[in-house]
C-alpha cells in the first residue's frame, strides 16, 4: 500500500514536471556579438543595447515598431510654459527584479532611482561615476550636459523635475534612448556596501519584462520572464545565442536552433524568402546615405548647379548595383519611418540632357571636381567606392570630370567635417527618432551662420535654420511636424546634397514567432512576442 502511494505520488510529481516543462515557452535569438556589459549608458553598440534591453525601462519609451514616444516608467509628463521645466509623474508600484545577484529590493521605483541614473552619467563626484571606465558617450554626444540644469525630486517621491538650460523638445526622445535606462539606486548601494560596484554593470537589475539569469561570455545570455508593471511576457525563457557569422545564424534559424536572427547576409535573402518556415520582415532603416555638394565652394554655391548634378545621377542604377535591392531611393533627408516625413516631396528625376542644359545656363563648363568616398561599409552605404565610380561616370556624361578621393576612416570624417571636399559621400543613422536628430544635426548652422561640424554640405539657410530652431523649442508634436515639413520643402528646393538611399533592414524569423515588430531604431525587443511551436 505504502509503495503504491509512493509510486502514485512520484508519478503525479513527474507528470506535473513534464507538464510544467512542456508549457514553458523558450525563444532563442541569434545575436551577432557579445555585449560590452549590461549598462547601456557606458556602451555604444547596438549589440550591447540589445543585450540590456530586456532588463531595463526608461521614463518614456518608443512604441514598438515606430519612432513615437509613449509613457514608460513615467505615466505622464508636463512641460512648463517656457519649455524649460519638464515634470514627470512616475508610475506607482513598479517593482525591480528580485533575487538577481543576491539582491532583494525593499521598495518600488521612486524619484531617487531616476536621479541616480542621470547623476551617474553627469556628476563626476557620483560614487559610480568612475565604475567600468566611466565614459558616458551617448549622454555626452546627445548634448545632455549642456541641456540639463537639474534633475530633482518634485513634491513627492513619485515626481521628478527636469530643468533645462533652454527649451528643447527633442530631449523627450533622448530620454527614450537606451542610455537613459533607469537603474535601482538600492541595488547600487547594496553592491557598493559589498565592495563589488563593478558587478553593477555585469549583473543587471531593472524593471523590464525579463530578468537577467546568466551570461557566459561570447556564448549565451539567459533571461526569464518577469511579471512587472508591463505584465508578464508571453515567453518564459529568452535566450540570446551569440552567433557572429551571418551564414551560421541562418543555418541555425533553418534548423530551428534559434527563432529570430539579426543581420542576414544579403546573399541569403532570396533563399530565406522562399523558405516555408521563415518570415522575412523588412523596413526602411532610420538612416540616410547622401552625396554632399560643398556649398561653400563654387560652383556648388548655386542651387541650380546642385540640382543639375542631382539630375545627372542615375540613382536607380545605384540602388540596384550598390545596395543589391537592400535599399530604397530617398527623396527626403529623413527616412519614411520618421514622423513628419514629407510624402508630398517631388523627387528629382534622372535627366542627364536637362542637367547638361541647366549647367550650361549656369555658366558651368569644363568643371573639374573631386568625389570623396568612404573607405568603410556602412549600413546606409554598403559600397561607397562603387557608388563613387558610378557617380563619376554619370558626371562625365554631363561634362564634369571628377577624380576619386579617399582617406582612412577617422581622417576622412575629420577632413570632411572641416569642409576640405568639393563633393563627397557620407550618411547618418538616427539616434532617437526625432527629426531634429537629422535636420538640425546634419544641415544645421550656428547662430553666426557657420555650419555645424556634421553639416557636410556646409550649407546654411536662414529660413531653414529658423524653422528647425523653432521646432526644437515647442513641445506640441503636430506643430513641430508642420515646421519639419517646411524644412523638408526648403531642402528639396535647395538640394544641399543628393539624397541617395535609406538602407532596408531585414529581420528573418521563424513563422512560429508572432507579435514581433521591426524597430526603425534597430532595437530587438521581445516583450510582446509569442511562439507557437
Amino acid at each position: 500500500m505504502k509503495i503504491r502511494t509512493l509510486l502514485g505520488a512520484a508519478l503525479l510529481a513527474s507528470s506535473m514536471l513534464v507538464a510544467g516543462a512542456a508549457s514553458a515557452k523558450s525563444l532563442v535569438y541569434c545575436s551577432e556579438g557579445s555585449p560590452e556589459n549590461f549598462t547601456p549608458s557606458v556602451n555604444t553598440t547596438g549589440t550591447s543595447f540589445d543585450a540590456a534591453r530586456p532588463v531595463y525601462n526608461r521614463l518614456v519609451q518608443f512604441t514598438p515598431g515606430t519612432t513615437q514616444v509613449e509613457p514608460g516608467l513615467a505615466e505622464s509628463w508636463t512641460v512648463s510654459e517656457d519649455g524649460k521645466t519638464i515634470t514627470f509623474k512616475l508610475r506607482p508600484g513598479v517593482k525591480f527584479h528580485s533575487g538577481v545577484n543576491g539582491f532583494t529590493p525593499t521598495r518600488d521605483l521612486n524619484a531617487e532611482d531616476v536621479i541616480w541614473s542621470f547623476e551617474r552619467q553627469w556628476k563626476a563626484d557620483h560614487p559610480y561615476a568612475k565604475v567600468s571606465g566611466g565614459s558616458y558617450d551617448y549622454f555626452n554626444d546627445m548634448g545632455m550636459p549642456d541641456l540639463l540644469e537639474s534633475v530633482t525630486k518634485g513634491d513627492d517621491d513619485m515626481t521628478v523635475v527636469i530643468k533645462l538650460t533652454k527649451p528643447n523638445a527633442p530631449i523627450i526622445a533622448n530620454l527614450a534612448m537606451d542610455f537613459a535606462a533607469i537603474h535601482s539606486a538600492e541595488y547600487a548601494k547594496y553592491l557598493m556596501d559589498k565592495g563589488t560596484p563593478e558587478q553593477f554593470d555585469q549583473i543587471p537589475v531593472g524593471t523590464g519584462s525579463f530578468q537577467f539569469v546568466a551570461y557566459q561570455k561570447d556564448a549565451v545570455i539567459r533571461f526569464k520572464a518577469f511579471d512587472g508593471w508591463a505584465g508578464k511576457p508571453k515567453i518564459d525563457d529568452l535566450v540570446y545565442a551569440i552567433t557572429p557569422d551571418a551564414t551560421a545564424r541562418y543555418a541555425k534559424l533553418k534548423a530551428n536552433e534559434c527563432q529570430v536572427m539579426i543581420a542576414p547576409n544579403p546573399a541569403d535573402l532570396p533563399d530565406m524568402k522562399q523558405n516555408a518556415d521563415i518570415n522575412v520582415m523588412e523596413q526602411a532603416g532610420l538612416n540616410i546615405g547622401y552625396y554632399a555638394l560643398n556649398a561653400q565652394k563654387p560652383p556648388f554655391d548655386k542651387p541650380e548647379v546642385r540640382k543639375a548634378i542631382a539630375m545627372a545621377i542615375d540613382r536607380d542604377a545605384i540602388i540596384k548595383e550598390v545596395y543589391q535591392g537592400a535599399g530604397q531611393k530617398a527623396k527626403n533627408p529623413i527616412p519614411p519611418t520618421m514622423w513628419s516625413y514629407d510624402e508630398s516631396t517631388v523627387d528629382i528625376p534622372y535627366d542627364p540632357a536637362k542637367a547638361k542644359e541647366m549647367l550650361k545656363a549656369a555658366g558651368v563648363e569644363g568643371l573639374k571636381t573631386d568625389i570623396w568616398w568612404m573607405p568603410v561599409q556602412r549600413p546606409y552605404n554598403p559600397n561607397a567606392k562603387r557608388m563613387a565610380e558610378m557617380i563619376q561616370a554619370d558626371l562625365a556624361k554631363v561634362g564634369i570630370e571628377a577624380t576619386l578621393v579617399s582617406y582612412e576612416w577617422g581622417e576622412y570624417r575629420k577632413r570632411m567635417q572641416a569642409g576640405e571636399h568639393q563633393t563627397g559621400m557620407l550618411g547618418w543613422t538616427g539616434d532617437n527618432g526625432d527629426p531634429d536628430n537629422f535636420l538640425a544635426v546634419l544641415l544645421g548652422c550656428n547662430a553666426e551662420g557657420k555650419p555645424n561640424g556634421n553639416n557636410i554640405p556646409k550649407w546654411c539657410n536662414a529660413e531653414f535654420q529658423e524653422v528647425v530652431n523653432k521646432a526644437a523649442e515647442i513641445s506640441d508634436q503636430a506643430e513641430r511636424a508642420k515646421l519639419y515639413k517646411r524644412a523638408q520643402e526648403i531642402v528639396a528646393a535647395e538640394v544641399p546634397w543628393v539624397n541617395i538611399a535609406h538602407s532596408t533592414v531585414f529581420e528573418p524569423l521563424r513563422k512560429s514567432v508572432t507579435g514581433y515588430k521591426v524597430s526603425p531604431l534597430g532595437a530587438h525587443e521581445f516583450q510582446n512576442v509569442d511562439i507557437t511551436e
Binding site: 523558450s26 532563442v28 556579438g33 557579445s34 560590452e36 556589459n37 555604444t44 567600468s132 571606465g133 565614459s135 558617450d137 555626452n140 554626444d141 563593478e198 546568466a214 557566459q216 561570455k217 561570447d218 556564448a219 549565451v220 539567459r222 525563457d237 535566450v239 545565442a241 551569440i242 552567433t243 557572429p244 557569422d245 551564414t247 551560421a248 543555418a251 541555425k252 533553418k254 534548423a255 536552433e257 556602412r378 582612412e408 576612416w409 577617422g410 581622417e411 570624417r413 575629420k414 567635417q417 557620407l426 550618411g427 547618418w428 543613422t429 561640424g453 556634421n454
Partner: protein, 337 residues
Amino acid sequence: MFRFLLKRLALTIPTFIALMFITFVMIRLVPGDPIEVRKGERGISPERLAQLRHEMGLDQPVWKQFLDYANGLLHGDFGTSIISKAPVLHEFLTLFPATLELTLSAMIFAIVLGIPAGVIAASRRGGVYDQTLMGLALTGYSMPIFWWGLILILLMSNTLGLTPVSGRVDLIKFYYEPVTGFMLIDSLLSGQKGAFLDAVHHLILPMIVLGTVPLAVIARMTRSSMLEVLEEDYVRTARAKGLSWARVVGIHALRNALIPVVTVIGLQVGGLLAGAVLTETIFSWPGVGKWLIESINRRDYPALQGGIMLIAGIVIVVNLLVDMLYGLINPRIRHAK
C-alpha cells in the same frame, strides 16, 4: 638533457621579446584607434577625444606605452580590456578552456586517423589505397577552413539534420553553470541526463573542420617517414627473421618513423590555434579565437596584445615540450653535441 633544456629555454626569451615588440607595433599600425572605431559619423569633439585618449594612455609616445606595457608584463600584468574593463588574463583564462577543448579534440582526431592512414598508404605504396588516401590528404590540406565549415553545416546540419549547427550545448534543453570551462567535463558534472552526449554532438563538426588540415599533414608525414624507414637495414633484417608484417611495421618501423611525425604534430599546434580563430567564428564557439577577432574589430589593444602574447607563449612552450619529447624518443638528439 638539462643543458639542452637550458639552451632551448634561453632561446625562447629573445623570441618572446621580439614577438612582444612586433605585435605591439603592428597593432598600432592598423588605422583607427579604439576611440575612433567607437565613434560613428557623429565624430568627437577635440577636448573629449583628448580626455579619452589620456584615460586610455594613448596620448603617451609609443615607446613609453611599450615600456609601460613591458613593465606590466614582467609583473604578470597583461593589462585591462578597453571594452569590457576586465583584466585581460582573466578574460583569456575564462575563454581558453573552450579553445583547448576544441584544439585537443581536433588534434586527437587528426592523430588517430592520420597515423594509421599514413601507415596503410606507405605499406601499400603506389596502390589504390595509397593513391586514394594521399589524394584525400592533399584535398584536406588545401581546404579553406571557412568554406569547409559552412559546407559541413549545410550538409550535416541543415540537409541531413545529423548534428547541431553551432554552439557547445543545446541552449533550451540544458542549462548548467560552467565549472571547469570544458563542456565535456561540465556536462558530466551537471548530472543532467543526456548533457554529455549533447556536448559531444556539438563538438563533432568543429572538431572535424579544425582537425582536417593537421590530419592531412600527419598522414602525409607518416607515409613519407614510414617509406624511408621501411628501406632501412634493420627492417630488412626483421623481415628476414620471418616476423609478421604487422610486427615489422607496427613495432620496428613505426616507432622510428614517428620521430619526424612528433615534430610535425608540435608544429601543428600553432596552425591549430590559428585555425581555431576561424572555426570558433563559424561555430559560435566561445574561445579565445573569436575573442581576438572581436578585439581587432574594436581596436581593443590590450586584449589583442595580451591574447597574442599568451597564445604565442603557449606555442613556444608546446614546441619546447616537443623538442624535449623528441630528445626522449630519439637518444641520438639528446647525446649529439
